[in-house]
């Protein structure tokens, strides 16, 4: 099946998320859409899948124009989609999930036998190893993704859209997925692979289309130079290196010993971590998402739901067992990884958000009564200092752009004397201009002698900011390495190897690396 997008535009109000995009996907081709976060890739695919209606433009299947009023139409036309956030009902079995929307019935009664048979068949053909009767919520992420692929294949998808499929996978799982994609293409299924990761795109794509700010900015061959692709993607030559002096670590401020976190459901999420951070140094925690980073920072902040054992001391004083408020008051600044969810009250004004964890101090309140003037003065000062672009101090923080929201959180946390600064994903979803600014502020905090812990899944950010890097895998520290460690070694460590194993493995490069080559300090 040949799929063409012809001049697709999609507007939200006056803002064009997609503008005049034309793409042709040939049968059996792996067509990669490369673009930064927020470039408009997902919007485009939602248009193609019938979830959005295009503002202008046509979709053609085998040369004939079609319109999709909903996903049902798109599926009927042979288009399948694996969403970045899986569209699986957790309390359903695999078979129920696959059957949903395309049920086999006998006299109105659900017949899952046929569905089970098809699942086994596809599972065998691609080596998926999926049990049709397993509950989806019990399956690992990688397997859930395969269920999504099965869902599309059962519906006889000729074009399979994969939206950022590797975001939640380990490098090894990623390689397996790339292999599956090649297999699918070999069987004649076209694959649209959406990603912002150069290595994967170069490794697997037949054709690459680069999208920036909702427009196609170029087509490229997989053999193109990474720097060239990156420049297309970002729009200007970026070197996000951070100017920072050599660290001058003082005495140890944060000391974590044998820390273990067990979730209420019995899962051990942090499994015996030992770490220490000295004043005036940045320790970056690297790792694929979901390997205990969140739980580690939550344990420090006293935010854990489950049980925590071990010890976390700040300047020799135990933090475990103390309330979040106490931890904050003892000189810990915290930037949570999901600022909309945990860092800001969206409906509160910028001014209120700037004192969200300070309003009980003598500076902003007295006898339980707030001091609006002091709060206003503070917000004026912070808005200037951090160049927060907001219509006014009383505007709701939820209406600011991602970068400005992050500046509000960062400004709040850095506005008081700190001993320890913990920042999770400090620049996630933040525009390039703000990233540079935020990175500078983090380094400045370090230079004041604060111990800094950065949790990031962005390897580049880790490398740029860190004085030392600790790699987390399955709730354990697989190694603490210097910041000049090569990306390949770090990548292998993120898959669970120790530093030594990784270094040894790195001597014999894998096929993916051979085709991808070295990318340098890009994104």
């Amino acid at each position: 099946m040949k799929l063409e997008l012809d001049g697709i535009s999609k507007a939200f109000g006056d803002f064009y998320a997609n503008q005049d995009i034309s793409i042709t996907v040939e049968p059996g081709q792996i067509h990669s859409l490369l673009g930064e976060n927020g470039a408009g890739k997902s919007t485009l695919m939602n248009v193609l899948y019938g979830l959005y209606q295009p503002t202008a433009g046509r979709i053609l299947v085998d040369g004939k124009p079609v319109t999709f009023s909903g996903p049902g139409d798109a599926m009927a036309a042979g288009i399948g989609m694996v969403h970045q956030h899986f569209m699986l009902v957790p309390v359903f079995t695999v078979a129920e999930n696959v059957a949903l929307g395309a049920e086999n019935t006998k006299g109105g009664i659900l017949d899952l036998k046929e569905t089970r048979r098809k699942i086994r068949e596809i599972s065998d053909r691609y080596g998926f190893d999926v049990d049709p009767d397993a509950l989806v919520e019990d399956l690992p992420v990688g397997v859930q993704q395969r269920v999504e692929i099965i869902k599309a294949l059962v519906r006889q998808a000729k074009v399979l859209i994969l939206d950022e499929p590797t975001a939640v996978l380990t490098p090894q799982e990623t390689d397996e997925l790339l292999q599956i994609m090649r297999q699918l293409a070999g069987n004649g299924t076209s694959v649209v692979f959406i990603s912002h990761k150069l290595r994967e795109v170069k490794a697997v794509a037949d054709v690459i289309t680069v999208i920036r700010r909702g427009r196609v900015v170029g087509n490229a061959d997989p053999s193109a130079e990474p720097a060239e692709l990156a420049a297309l993607m970002v729009g200007r030559d970026v070197s996000l290196s951070v100017d920072k002096a050599e660290a001058t670590p003082g005495k140890t401020i944060l000391d974590i010993k044998n820390l273990a976190v067990t979730a209420p459901n019995g899962h051990r999420l942090v499994d015996g971590i030992d770490l220490s951070i000295a004043g005036g140094e940045i320790l970056a925690i690297a790792g694929v998402q979901g390997n205990g980073q969140t739980e580690l920072s939550e344990a420090i902040m006293g935010l854990t739901d489950g049980s925590v054992t071990g010890s976390i001391t700040l300047d020799g004083k135990e933090l475990l067992g103390r309330s979040t408020r106490d931890v904050l008051r003892s000189g810990v600044g915290f930037v949570p990884e999901d600022r909309n969810h945990d860092g800001l009250v969206g409906q509160f004004s910028v001014q209120e958000n700037l004192v969200l964890d300070l309003f009980r101090s003598d500076e902003y309140s007295r006898f339980g009564s707030l001091k609006p003037k002091a709060m206003a003065a503070n917000s004026k000062h912070r808005i200037d200092e951090f160049d927060i672009r907001t219509p006014s101090a009383t505007a709701a923080a939820g209406n600011l752009s991602g970068g400005n929201q992050q500046k509000v959180v960062m400004a709040r946390e850095l506005s008081r004397p700190l001993r320890l600064f913990v920042a999770s994903q400090p620049t996630r979803g933040v525009d390039v201009g703000s990233i540079e600014f935020l990175h500078k502020r983090i380094v400045a905090e370090r230079d004041q002698g604060t111990a800094v812990m950065i949790v990031s899944t962005e390897l580049d950010e880790v490398i740029q900011l860190a004085d030392r890097i600790a790699v987390l895998y399955q709730g354990r520290v697989v190694g603490v390495v210097p910041s000049n460690t090569s990306r390949d070694v770090l990548g292998l460590m993120m898959a669970g190897m120790t530093a030594e194993q990784a270094a040894a493995e790195n001597a014999t490069p894998s096929p993916a690396e051979q085709s991808a080559g070295e990318e340098g300090g890009l994104l």
Binding site: Y52, M75, M87, P90, T170, G290, V477
Partner: protein
């Protein structure tokens, strides 16, 4: 620092053992001690007579005579034993099987009956009558709770059950009187219930109003509307508007003559038989049909259903409407079966008990129906025991459903997890 040498692709954290919970054990233990002390040690020396036979049985069963204190002590021991088993299982991280909890419940109720009846002025009741009354009082509750099931399983919180019952009762009385036909009244009750539901559905689904707000306000609206029409129209001319014919009892030949079971289950009006159909039908359809699969998907993860071409909001709309129709039939019970007239607010909060049954029954049609029966039983017990003249104030028995529900939502009686997307409006991006 030891690291796994193999690079397994999975990042699933290791399971190190389920947390041990003693909640169930504690609750059971307390109840067992309570039973032992009150029903046993402090029990009456009189005997309680529980009559089983009714007129028209094929053969008469003898009455059950339970000596008060002895029954209490025996029951107390058995209950303590079950609590002990629960404790032993909990230490191993296992849970008491559901049937054991049911046995516990039945024993407890038996002990309570023996105690309450033997302590009364006339220590004799008809057990069959008690159970029959429980089902009868449970009828509107079960219909109501099914309406809740249909709404919540498809993702719409239905606090408006009370309004649907009341609307059904009013409509049945009005149309039954006007047409002179109880069955037409029944149909109009279903229509009225469906109409109330449609308002809920439109506001919740189309206008995205908080579903709890709509539900609460709808109850007030229906109460006001029926109350107004009752005062303005019905009281002025009851012969023309508020004297509906009663539904006939339709005893099923032979089955209705079986002792205990017959009088309880097979001497119903059409509403009673519709009840069996509705409970079993909703249960079966939810689990085993295309509609059921889609309904459950829409209640758990509407976006997933949408991406597979399921029309989320339309399915929700019709399910809520269907629920309303079912609750409407339950409402007809008040005016076509219980008494032959409509009075203001005659549903008397049963819609909220139905809601409680829904939660206690964990959003499962059968479970909810059983919970509703339990509440009907408590309700009827209060009536029966007040006739017998027992020491327990009837108000406390009437409180029981509410207290049990609080225990249930507080997680003291097992974990209750509702449909994930219940109460969440679904908006296409």
């Amino acid at each position: 620092m030891s690291a796994p040498a193999t690079t397994t692709p999975s990042t699933l954290p290791s399971l190190v053992g389920r947390p041990v919970s003693f909640k169930t054990t504690i609750v059971l233990g307390l109840l067992a001690v309570l039973a032992f002390v009150f029903f046993g040690a402090l029990g009456s020396d009189n005997s309680a007579t529980l009559r089983l036979a009714t007129d028209g049985d094929l053969f008469a069963l003898p009455a059950l005579v339970l000596p008060g204190r002895i029954t209490g002590i025996v029951v107390g021991f058995l209950l303590l034993a079950i609590a002990g088993i629960s404790f032993a299982l909990a230490r191993r991280g296992e849970k008491l099987p559901a049937w054991a909890v049911v046995v516990f419940g039945v024993l407890f109720v038996l002990g309570f009956l023996a105690w309450a009846v033997s302590g009364g002025d006339t220590p004799s009741i008809s057990l069959t009558g008690l159970l029959k009354g429980a089902l009868t009082l449970g009828i509107p509750l079960i219909f109501g709770t099914l309406s809740g099931v249909l709404g919540e399983r498809s993702g719409v919180v239905n606090i408006a059950i009370e309004g649907q019952l009341l609307g059904g009762a009013f409509s049945a009385a009005l149309m039954g009187t006007i047409t002179g036909n109880a069955y037409l009244g029944l149909i109009s009750a279903a229509v009225a219930g469906a109409l109330v539901s449609m308002v809920l559905a439109v506001f919740a689904i189309k206008y995205l109003v908080n579903q709890i707000i709509v539900g609460v306000v709808l109850n007030v609206l229906v109460s006001g509307l029926t109350g107004f029409l009752f005062g303005q129209v019905m009281t002025a001319n009851p012969e023309a508007f508020n004297q509906p014919p009663r539904l006939d009892r339709l005893p099923i030949p032979f089955l209705s003559q079986i002792p205990i079971i017959g009088p309880i289950f097979f001497q119903q009006t059409i509403i009673g038989y519709l009840l069996y159909v509705a409970v079993i039908g909703v249960w079966y359809a939810l689990g085993h049909t295309r509609w059921g699969l889609r309904t459950r998907a829409v209640g758990e993860h509407p976006k997933a259903a949408d991406t597979l071409g399921v029309k989320v909001n339309s399915l929700r709309f019709w399910n809520v409407t269907l629920g309303g129709a079912i609750a409407g039939i339950g409402g007809a019970y008040f005016t076509l079966e219980a008494v032959e007239m409509f009075t203001k607010d005659m549903s008397g909060g049963r819609g909220f008990i139905a809601l409680a049954a829904l939660i206690l029954g964990r959003w499962n049609p059968i479970g909810a129906a059983l919970a509703a029966l339990l509440f009907g039983f408590a309700d009827n017990l209060a009536v029966v025991l007040s006739i017998v003249g027992t020491p327990v104030p009837s108000q406390f028995l009437e409180m029981l459903p509410y207290i049990v529900t609080i225990f249930a939502v507080a997680g003291l009686v097992g974990k209750s997890r509702g449909p994930a997307a219940s109460g969440e409006p679904y908006v296409k991006e």
